[in-house]
């Protein structure tokens, strides 16, 4: 097989011609210039609402759209629709063979897409983290001294937008794409091409956001509030295109997950045997599918305001900034749970493995996930408690926000009772899961202050709220993201990550994280507003402390990076098929998983948590033989 592949291998120059990443980048850049040039031919530079500037937003939008089209065509997304138009038979798989080259282009294998996501999102996570380091460098001094004020705001905006945008798919992209088919006993996702599309849309989006630095940056932070949005430089257009593409990618990703979990479960995998991780995925996916279109809509309206002289958000011309704030947070609050729910699910999925006990209160845990999914639609106006809208509805939003702590409490009690009287082991993934309890507890309790209107009057828009959502997102999502990496990367790559470096990474990150964001609660209580380049001199000590802790936090992530590269590229300690002794279906497969996952589709006989029950294996291993479909 391999000898044959070597024989028929074409020379390098020949392999570079065709639909691949190189073509995609060239067509993307070429398309951008074409769109930019063409738009300059049809529209003058001063069509925008605010009168004469030398900025041509239409040209920039056209550049991004044509560039994106070129990028996707270059990757080969047009090939299949074109073939179908010409009458070729349908197929479900594309470019799934060919060694490491598969990872550099369009590939419909869900395992390849999962690993692409892991590297892609990881790259942008580190860029976003670097922005945070620069922000903290600026805040070492109470006056502004390193960056000009505009660049500082661009850094703040890029950090927030990168993290909130790219990391919404932080768990579902790498881990759900890779694991959901393995956990439900399927050979692929429901829509393999859409799956690949979501990844490449996200990569295009991240690149587009980064190009904002060529067009003056943007001053609005990740929320992009109007009318500052309308007033901002051309760099704002990068933000709009970025977030709209993220929204589309998110929506498609969610649809794919729902369709896969609903329709492609193996025989015997009833809803009450579904791994809790899949429940977390489907809850998140429901939020993604319903929330992302609102985001795309509000960004399209912003785009029209900036280019076609509409005035959805300009009070001077009959619009309202409240419209933006409402639509943005109708997306934005579910977005927060899109980030949090996969974290809950990972914790509940991993705790049974490391405590050798069944998941305690499975139904209660599912109810918790679905309860958060439902309630997260009813709370968005707590983000605009002091904006002057609906002053009489604030008690309702206060109640609905606090009600979310009930289903969240279900997750806590299920997790803690799973630990209760277990035989606990503490490898690195378990440590990250335990840290989740601590971090999310602080995040949740500080949320009570923000949901209570009288307290929110002080804490709203201050560093208190900033510390709060870093506890809930970084402390919960990012910690569980690392738990998932240490836990599942052996399955994905076939190599173990170094345990000692992992422990150093964990402890340094845990201590530095709390030392960074804990004091920021105090900074907010003492009156430091968010997103400022200056602050009062009495807050100097806290800010220096926080900055130094943040640098240590950044350093702990470098340790992770070193561990990741060392373990996977140099040390290459082969992973046993089931290093954690898990009973879950994905660990019954060899590491790394073969292309077609299962020789024969398994029959599921229990849920993956029957530790101590001695009921036998989770699935009846099918006799070896010819594969089923496809």
């Amino acid at each position: 097989m391999s000898a044959l592949a070597v024989e028929t291998r074409a020379p390098v120059w020949r392999r570079l011609i065709g639909f691949n990443l190189l073509t995609a980048i060239l067509l993307g850049i070429g398309g951008w210039y074409f769109g930019w040039w063409a738009a300059h031919q049809i529209t003058g530079p001063s069509i925008d609402y605010f009168g004469d500037t030398d900025q041509n937003d239409i040209a920039l939008f056209m550049g991004y759209f044509v560039g994106l089209l070129g990028f996707l065509i270059g990757l080969g997304f047009g090939v299949y629709p074109w073939a179908r138009l010409r009458g070729y038979p349908p197929s479900l798989r594309e470019k799934e063979t060919g060694g490491t080259a598969r990872y550099w282009g369009l590939c419909t294998d869900h395992k390849v897409v999962g690993i692409q996501y892991l590297w892609g999102i990881g790259l942008f996570f580190f860029i976003g983290g670097l922005n945070a380091m620069l922000i903290r460098t600026e805040l070492l001094s109470p006056t502004h001294h390193v960056f000009p004020a505009g660049n500082y705001l661009t850094l703040v905006g890029m950090h927030g937008t990168m993290m909130m945008g790219m990391f919404t798919s932080g768990i579902l992209g790498p881990f759900a794409n890779y694991l959901v088919p393995l956990m439900i006993g399927a050979r692929r996702m429901a829509f393999p091409r859409i799956e690949a599309l979501t990844f490449w849309l996200l990569m295009a989006a991240g690149t587009i956001l980064t190009t904002t630095i060529f067009f003056g940056g943007f001053p609005t932070g990740w929320t992009g509030y109007q009318p500052l949005n309308d007033q901002a430089n051309m760099g704002m257009d990068s933000y709009i295109v970025f977030f709209a593409l993220v929204g589309i990618s998110m929506c498609l990703l969610g649809l794919n997950m729902i369709a896969t979990i609903v329709t492609m479960r193996a025989p015997g995998l009833t809803w009450s045997r579904l791994p809790i991780f899949c429940w977390g995925v489907i809850s998140t996916a429901i939020l993604m599918v319903l929330a992302a279109p609102v985001l795309v809509a509000v960004l399209l309206m912003s785009m029209l305001d900036r280019t076609a002289q509409t005035s959805f958000f300009l009070s001077a011309a009959g619009g309202s900034q409240y419209l933006y704030e409402n639509l943005f947070w109708i997306f934005g609050h579910p977005e927060v749970y899109i980030l949090a729910l996969p974290g809950f699910a990972i914790v509940l999925e991993l705790l049974p493995v490391f405590s050798r006990k069944p998941l305690w209160g499975y139904r209660l845990a599912v109810a918790g996930l679905l309860g958060v999914t439902l309630l997260s639609w009813l709370v968005w106006q707590h983000h605009i408690f002091v904006s002057g809208i609906n002053s009489d509805l604030r008690p309702f939003y206060m109640l609905s926000t606090e009600l979310i702590s009930i289903p969240t409490g279900f997750t806590f009690i299920c997790g803690l009772m799973t630990l209760w009287r277990g035989n606990l082991r503490f490898p690195v993934p378990m440590l990250f899961c335990l840290a989740w309890f601590f971090n999310f507890l602080i995040g949740g309790l500080s949320g009570v202050f923000l949901s209570d209107v009288p307290s929110d009057v002080t804490t709203h828009g201050s560093f208190f709220s900033m510390a709060h959502f870093h506890y809930t997102i970084m402390g919960a999502l990012v910690f569980t993201f690392f738990a998932a990496i240490y836990y599942w990367v052996p399955k994905m790559t076939g190599y173990m990550l170094n345990e000692r470096l992992g422990k150093i990474h964990f402890w340094l990150m845990f201590v530095a994280f709390n030392s960074t964001f804990g004091p920021l609660f105090a900074a907010g209580f003492l009156g430091q507003p968010r997103r400022v380049v200056t602050y009062q001199s009495n807050l100097h000590f806290i800010n220096v402390w926080v900055s130094i802790s943040a640098f240590v936090l950044g350093f702990s992530l470098l340790i992770f990076l070193a561990n990741f590269v060392w373990s996977l590229v140099f040390a290459k300690v082969p992973a046993p098929p089931n290093p954690w002794g898990s009973r879950s279906l994905e660990w019954q497969l060899p590491s790394p998983v073969p292309v077609h996952n299962f020789d024969r589709i398994p029959h599921i006989t229990s849920d993956p948590y029957d530790y101590g029950d001695a009921r036998g294996p989770i699935a009846m291993p099918a006799p070896t033989g010819a594969g089923g479909m496809e």
Binding site: T220, Y225, G361, Y362, M417, V453, V457, G581, D613
Partner: protein
């Protein structure tokens, strides 16, 4: 169900972990909660420069006090499990197959909603008292006593400063915020361009400044004091420099100050637009 049976058989002979944990938690809570309430409660912001600020301190200290036993419950349970139930052997030994416990689940489903409903009721009651210093829009739903006699002061946010108009004193506009002591003040917060947020920290006031909107916040001042003003909503390039100091002064001093402002700004009054609850901004040019 068989799960409960398995539960009880496993307990026999072992120490009663449930009772032990509850004892630790109750003792820790009984000690820590009053300490938090007494020593940390008063340190919480925003101080007592106004009735609203005092009320917020009360709110914050209550929330912190209620949070203490909840925090301790999860933390102690987590630490208890981690220290008591660590695996003694290197080989994998399964724990008891506990799949749930109807009593604990039911208890949890009663207690957490009770706490949540109490918190929401408490917050609503506090809000009802006086509006808590938050911006309430043109038709404030929660009014403090005697709101009809309140002194009107308009706060105008623009990139990147706040100015203040006193409609009862001829609509004079000044760059300084001075308020009389022991007076109920009705702040009308509005903006001329982007969204700002007027935050008078020590007074416990925060209200977004929206173009075209009259956002009303009530504050009952106390004795003479200086207070910090920040913009708390990202409003563009110099957002970080949009801060100021305001003053609460004795009534007589306020009267002489406002007279002085009126005479000082008299020559430019004719260029000001007529006092209004909001001003439609001119179409803007692009800025940073």
């Amino acid at each position: 169900m068989s799960t409960n049976a398995a539960d009880t058989t496993a307990i026999a002979g072992a120490p009663n972990h449930g009772k032990r944990f509850l004892t630790i938690w109750i003792v820790a809570s009984v000690i820590a909660t009053p300490l938090v309430a007494i020593f940390l409660g008063d340190l919480l912001p925003p101080g007592d420069a106004s009735a609203q600020a005092t009320q917020q301190v009360f709110d914050n200290s209550w929330l912190l006090t209620i949070s203490t036993p909840i925090f301790l419950f999860v933390l102690i349970l987590l630490l208890y499990t981690v220290f008591s139930f660590r695996a003694r052997t290197t080989e994998l030994v399964d724990g008891p197959p506990m799949r749930g416990n109807a009593r604990i689940q039911l208890l949890w489903m009663i207690i957490t909603p009770a706490v949540v409903l109490f918190l929401a009721g408490f917050g609503t009651y506090e809000l009802w008292q006086s509006g808590a210093g938050g911006g309430q829009g043109p038709n404030a739903a929660f009014l403090p006593a005697g709101y009809k006699q309140a002194l009107d002061v308009q706060v105008i946010g623009q990139q990147w400063a706040f100015t203040y108009r006193y409609p009862t004193y001829g609509g004079v506009e000044t760059p300084h915020l001075v308020l009389p002591a022991r007076t109920l003040v009705r702040l009308h917060v509005t903006s001329l361009d982007a969204v700002h947020s007027f935050w008078a920290y020590q007074l416990g006031v925060k209200a977004d400044a929206n173009p075209g909107v009259d956002n009303v916040a009530y504050v009952q001042t106390k004795g003479p004091e200086a207070f910090d003003i920040h913009c708390a909503e990202l409003c563009g390039l110099w957002h970080g420099y949009m801060f100021d100091t305001g003053h609460v002064v004795a009534s007589a001093q306020f009267a002489s100050w406002i007279k002085q402002q009126q005479s000082y700004f008299a020559p430019v009054m004719k260029y000001l637009p007529k006092y209004s609850t909001s001003y439609l901004p001119d179409p803007q040019r692009r800025a940073g």
